[in-house]
């Protein structure tokens, strides 16, 4: 048994990169992919719906998994460039860096993501395509740093790969 123990403050412990996707099957990222900085936490949600029925010949319900709802949920410290983008007016045709996370959400841009789960022996890469949603930047007087939740709602399946 080997647990995965990313160390906060360590480069590449957990990395998430985003790029504009051409279509829902495009999980290939270019050199201009945006590495999302300052992640506080991240959760991979893979929730299967289940169809349930009863049969007269059984005292227990029968179930079968149907379709999954997949999403990545995380919290991050707002970094000006990556959050608002390098071009505040960037449209959906702009690069991922130009749009930034806020622009990707506003423009409803289809993005692909690669979540790298660093391990001591070999890394695992979780890939997919989806949309940025759930932004809610907040700041308070006793915690004067802008932080925001962010969700990538995934369209289709996750792809798990070794590279």
């Amino acid at each position: 048994m080997a647990y995965i123990n990313p160390a906060p403050g360590t480069a590449n412990a957990v990395t998430l990169t985003l790029d504009v996707a051409a279509d829902i099957s495009d999980v290939t990222q270019g050199v201009g992919a945006l590495s999302v900085p300052a992640l506080q936490d991240i959760t991979i949600n893979a929730s299967n719906d289940v169809f349930t029925w009863s049969q007269l010949d059984s005292t227990a319900k029968k179930q079968i998994a149907t379709t999954a709802t997949n999403s990545l949920a995380m919290n991050l410290v707002v970094d000006t460039a990556s959050f608002f983008g390098t071009d505040l007016d960037a449209a959906v045709s702009g690069t991922v860096a130009e749009q930034g996370l806020f622009g990707l959400s506003r423009n409803k841009t289809l993005v692909n993501f690669v979540l790298r789960v660093e391990n001591s022996t070999s890394d695992t890469f979780i890939k997919g395509v989806g949309y940025i949603t759930g932004l809610a930047p907040t700041v308070s007087a006793d915690s004067p740093v802008w932080v925001s939740p962010i969700t990538i709602t995934v369209t289709g399946e996750y792809t798990v790969a070794a590279t």
Binding site: P6, P8, G9, T10, A11, A13, V14, T15, P37, A38, L39, Q40, I42, V77, A141, D142, P144, V145, V147
Partner: protein, 130 residues
């Protein structure tokens, strides 16, 4: 921070209390504020840091607490008439204007007794992000 607090205190011009530029060091085991009652001594600034928001990646958001202690002593049997006002005014030093952005400012004051003297101690804590 010590300089700003000293400047603020000197501007108050207390009737019965003086402000010292000296540090509250001890000679022969006796602190300066015990040797010289009704004289306010401001200690050097102490700095402690700790993670404020822990992040994945190369950096964290850290907080830094700058603390400054003040001391003065008075006769324990007969408090100066303006003692309460002096304590109240000194506590207001937490709102002193600073060149740095401190998002949390705290002050605590306490008293203790040394023979026939009452020692009043203040601790100011200014917290900023780094």
């Amino acid at each position: 921070m010590r300089t700003e607090i000293l400047d603020y205190l000197k501007g108050l011009k207390f009737k019965n209390f003086n402000i010292s530029d000296e540090l509250p060091f001890s000679t022969s085991g006796t602190a300066m504020y015990s040797k010289n009652p009704k004289r306010v001594y401001v200690d050097l600034e102490q700095v402690t840091g700790e993670p404020f928001i822990v992040l994945f990646g190369d950096y964290n958001v850290d907080s830094e607490v700058h603390s400054v202690r003040l001391y003065f002593s008075t006769d324990a049997k007969q408090l100066p008439s303006d003692y309460n006002q002096v304590v109240s005014d000194i506590r207001l030093a937490k709102s002193v204007t600073t060149s740095e952005k401190f998002f949390r400012r705290e002050v605590t004051s306490s008293t203790s007794f040394e023979n026939d003297l009452m020692v009043t101690e203040f601790e100011f804590r200014f917290t900023k992000l780094t």
